[in-house]
Amino acid sequence: MVELAGRPPASSEGYRRSHDWRRRLPERIIGFSLLLCASASILTTVGIVSVLIFEAAHFFGQVSIFEYLGGTRWTPLFASKQFGVLALLAGTILTAGGSMVVALPLGVLSAIYLSEYAHDGVRRVCKPILEVLAGIPTVVYGYFALLFVTPLIRGISENVAVFNGISASIVMGIMILPMVSSLSEDAMRAVPRSLREGAYALGSTKLEVSTRVVIPAALSGIVASFILAASRAIGETMIVTIAAGQNPTFTLNPFIPIETMTAYIVQVSQGDTPTGTLEYQTIFAVALSLFVITLGMNSLSQFFVRRFREVYQ
């Protein structure tokens, strides 16, 4: 170390020594404990993924991956077992897709309203209320779908089954709505005021400013919110278990009973399937597939945010 000129060496020496261990040791302990906290979630993830892979490997030891990915009938709990995950995947895609059809337009339009049109007072009231939707337990949504939305739909047409995809889709769309609207609104409000002023100064109306400047500039955040909401819908369990049925069907018909991947996992875990059996291992194969899908979606969302983020001064 270089001694600074003009500083008395003795006192600076004593100062530095006490400074060293009394402050550095706690600092190291703290650093280490923080690392432990941080690794808790990482270790959990690693643990979950290894269990999934381990059990799924057993499953794929007995069932060909081609049958699993290519088959359209899913009957592992019956005597004549068939393992075509497409039947479950169709249910998941139907309900998640349906919920996006509800959540995307509503979410983006409410985000435009909150970010561009609403007065401060309105926004201060509306936004928390919208976000309360995210705090409602999903089991409540599930029964809301089954006991309120389904009778409404059946009131329109008798041909709709009691358990169906459309009711679950609508309610799930409402559930993920705050995610789309809130994240999109954050992205829109992050667009610099100067861009809005630039557009207004050229004679734009509020609608033109919103659609031609704010939305394009906030697109990366908006798309990321879509993808996050979609992966939330894909992983959502309670609503689809309660309202969509337990009848794996390779269909995109929203009016008949279906079963999603998540609902199947619930069905098996609730039953008395003995551990270690092939039936039991199916849920790990399904769970691993779900995990791969949502991981893919989240990575896609990250990619979008990075790739399309505009850098402002």
């Binding site: 100067s194 809005r196 630039g198 557009a199 207004y200 100064a201 050229l202």
Partner: protein, 257 residues
């Protein structure tokens, strides 16, 4: 229409943010095809005054005005006036370059497109870019992002964007404050050239700049209660060489501000 007829006028204009008055009793005439500078120390309300001319203050919910702002004799704040129509005729360039995160072409074409321009858009874009001496620099990369341009180029692009809707007046709010001296010089030359066809109002706190480019100068200053008022208005030559008010003299000789 005589060339000396004022294109913009304010009559006893007061601007308020909520209950607070920020600009008081400004009566000014802006002459057609001249450059008028509004100078004054920070916080004297010069930007606020400028933003009355294209009703930009409408975007601030608490802002209100009393008095009149006339554009070619028409009251800009009359109830039947659509602010978007006003902004189509009175363009604005901001303190910091604010190109949209779009291509260079789309930036210039933005105004004409929203205003339903039906002519030859590429030609209009080229013309606007030529007017700001940017064409030669960007003609080969019109389809690339405007954010890749340098600060000075971005500001000239913003001027080109404003010109593309063919306004009659261009308001400039400290257009060179974030530019280096060379880019500043380019923008000042451009302003001199544009004043052949446009009336320009420029807010600046750079007195040399006001003296260099403007024909007329208005000096604003905030009172003790921080209410901006017009101290002196006249030909720039007279303001900068022989100011009538001692506060103007104090400001331009650098004794405060």
């Amino acid at each position: 229409m005589q060339p000396s007829e004022p294109i913009l006028q304010t009559k006893n204009l007061n601007v308020y943010y909520g209950a607070k008055r920020v600009v008081t009793d400004v009566t000014l005439d802006f002459v057609r095809n001249r450059i008028t500078a509004i100078i004054g120390p920070s916080g004297c309300g010069k930007s606020t005054l400028l933003r009355c001319f294209n009703r930009m203050n409408d975007l601030i919910p608490s802002a209100t005005i009393t008095g009149q702002v006339l554009f070619e004799g028409q009251d800009l704040y009359a109830p039947d006036v659509d602010p978007t129509e006003i902004r189509y005729q009175i363009g604005m360039v901001f303190q910091r370059p604010n190109p949209f995160p779009k291509t260079i072409f789309d930036n210039v074409a933005f105004g004409p497109r929203i205003n339903g321009f039906r002519g030859d858009l590429p030609e209009l874009v080229e013309m606007s870019l030529r007017r700001t001496a940017l064409w030669e620099e960007v003609k080969d990369r019109l389809k690339t992002s405007a954010l890749a341009l340098s600060g000075g180029q971005q500001q000239r692009l913003c001027i080109a964007r404003a010109l593309a809707v063919e306004p009659k007046v261009i308001l400039m709010d400290e257009p060179c404050s974030s530019l280096d001296p060379i880019a500043t010089l380019a923008v000042e030359d451009l302003m001199r050239e544009l004043s052949q066809d446009y009336s320009i109002v420029i807010v600046t706190h750079n007195m040399q700049q006001a003296a260099r480019v403007s024909d007329q100068t208005a000096f604003l200053m905030a009172s003790q209660e921080r209410i901006g008022e017009l101290i002196e208005f006249g030909e720039s030559r007279q303001i900068f060489t022989n100011p009538q008010d001692e506060r103007t003299e104090a400001y331009i000789t650098g004794r405060f501000g």
